[in-house]
Symmetry: C2
Subunit: 346 residues, 2 copies
């Protein structure tokens, strides 16, 4: 981009949501006297008798986990959504509500309590991808499930209450706000160009080759031009799949491989188990056609300067809009430079 502009405060446009983000490249000079987080370096055992996700242990809801060997999913014991409930809506003047139903699941990535995605074998991450796909298909084919949100909160900093490697799936009747925004922008572009907005963006990024972190035959991971979180990254399939249900076995493995690559870079950045929330955005499962959609997986990691200093999305960010202190190019550069081998395995 215009190098002059790049050194000064500027705004960048998110082509998928239509929203702007304020970038203040000069601001990292500011000394930090605020809150620091705990650097969680504690080594865990492969089995923890008090963990409600380890094989054979009892869960908070009273049930017992099977002695699972690979991946394992089950219905959340404290779900935010319930499969049934009142179906009437409510409107009174300017107050408006709707009933909501859904199914919440927990997905254990491994029986080994001590692992995280970057420390798992590609073969085992492929099983996680396989389970996501299976859950997406099963949940998505149910009558009142019109969107399936797959996500992971990693690390205590991201509200994760158990370090056992796991993610969640919340699937529901209504289509969530963030999906509606992206659907609109995918659709507008598709109607105009009969091609995928994200596919065309990916082509441009591959040509520019400035924000790419890694690629393989089927996937690319990059720092999007409009990244909000300091080291936000996006995994994009080269082929325009609307959802993960369309991945074949080879692509599933390639997806697993690129997840491992990215998360190793993350851990290597500050030599810590890098916290983040990740999620897959894909086409709704309401039975309609979504030829414009192009699924992708995003990672929103909060760390900014070190293993203990994070970016706070607070006052200005909550009331006006997102702001970041390092540019997407600086973030990409910092990650590109890092070795592909995990710091604990060197």
């Amino acid at each position: 981009m215009n190098t002059e502009l790049n050194k000064h405060p500027h705004r960048r446009y998110n082509i998928l949501t239509g929203e702007w983000i304020l970038v203040s490249p000069h601001r990292t000079k500011r000394p930090w006297q605020g809150k620091t987080e705990k650097n969680n370096q504690e080594k865990r055992e492969s089995y923890d008798a008090s963990c409600y996700l380890c094989p054979g242990n009892s869960r908070m809801g009273g049930e017992t986990n099977p002695d699972y060997k690979g991946v394992h999913s089950f219905e959340n014991d404290f779900p935010a959504l319930l499969p049934s409930g009142p179906t009437d809506d409510f409107e009174n003047g300017l107050l408006k509500a709707e009933s909501e139903t859904g199914i919440c699941k927990v997905v254990c990535f491994s029986p080994d309590h001590s692992l995280t995605l970057p420390l798992m074998e590609v073969e085992d991450i492929t099983k996680v991808v396989g389970l996501w796909k299976k859950e997406f298909e099963e949940l998505g084919s149910k009558e009142n499930i019109n969107y399936v949100q797959i996500f992971e909160n990693k690390g205590a900093m991201m509200g994760c209450s158990n370090p056992h490697p796991h993610g969640q799936i919340w699937s529901q009747r209504s289509i969530p706000t963030e999906i509606l925004k992206k659907s609109q922008h995918f659709k507008d572009y598709w109607n105009k160009n009969k091609s995928s907005l994200l596919g065309d963006y990916l082509k441009q990024e591959l040509e520019l080759n400035e924000r790419i972190l890694a690629k393989n035959e089927h996937f690319v991971v990059l720092i999007p031009y409009w990244a909000v979180w300091p080291y936000e990254a996006m995994i994009i399939p080269k082929k325009q799949h609307q959802h993960i249900g369309q991945l074949n076995a080879e692509e599933e493995k390639a997806f697993a491989e690129i997840i491992k690559k990215l998360t190793i870079k993350y851990d290597n950045l500050f030599e810590t188990s890098f916290p983040y929330s990740s999620g897959i955005h894909q086409a709704p499962t309401d039975g309609k056609e979504y030829p414009e959609w192009h699924f992708h997986m995003s990672f929103y990691p909060p760390l900014l300067r070190s293993a203990t200093v994070k970016k706070f999305m607070v006052g200005y960010e909550m009331f006006a809009g997102p702001q970041r202190d390092i540019t997407a190019e600086q973030a990409a550069h910092n990650l590109q430079e890092l070795p592909d081998v995990h710091y604990l395995e060197r």
Copy 2:
């Protein structure tokens, strides 16, 4: 509302932004094994020699603070926005950026390092309101300042790096995303009804009298029907002012009084100095008319269950949309019950 629906997961509609929020009233039963925050009960002295905001001290940028007695504002030493810079925009295929300029200020609420808004006298909070008004008018009348965002990050949990009572003002050329959303909804309603969306909502809330926390002659504070944060609250002027520049002396005092009332309730809830980000949303300062706007001040506090357990807006919330565990009515009820005298002064 429909009491049946109220006990089950449901979605509520935010009339100001057009976005939905997922409410899971049954979910507080879930045990919390995750991260807890430090309960900051430390008593501070009225003067701290190492504080860069105390009167007479030197700041991080090298300057010296005047020996101020009431309120005091100055330009941020590490601003996210700069008054000048390149003015060209940038577009290359699907990459799109714009230059951005602005002025960032810091507003000290009191010379006394040990205070917070709920512990200040109404008379002294009135001076804070007066300074916000003055800054709004001065900044807003500058040529390239089209929006003035006044906010406070209170507490280390909210990224505040100095406990000295202070807030910030970021003013800029472009109109931020959150303001554009609200402008649209205010305008649509105004065009249809020739009345203020928020004014009509306020009338309805006053009649229902379920979510009101406090009121005086000129202001009401309530938990909005569509609150996102557990104890989110909104201060609304009864008269439809577009911005704080329109407040008269009596209204300024009433505004200060209601800020004190709300923040005392907050501190009393968990007997802690309640963290939050607060901000004022008001009409842009681009010289256009905004007859539809109705200014208001919102508080977004993160604490959920206790002084140490907060709500994490992470995976699902980032990728799908906001979710809360207690209803707005439960939150209102919990705050309504509390005494109006600060727990430290009883």
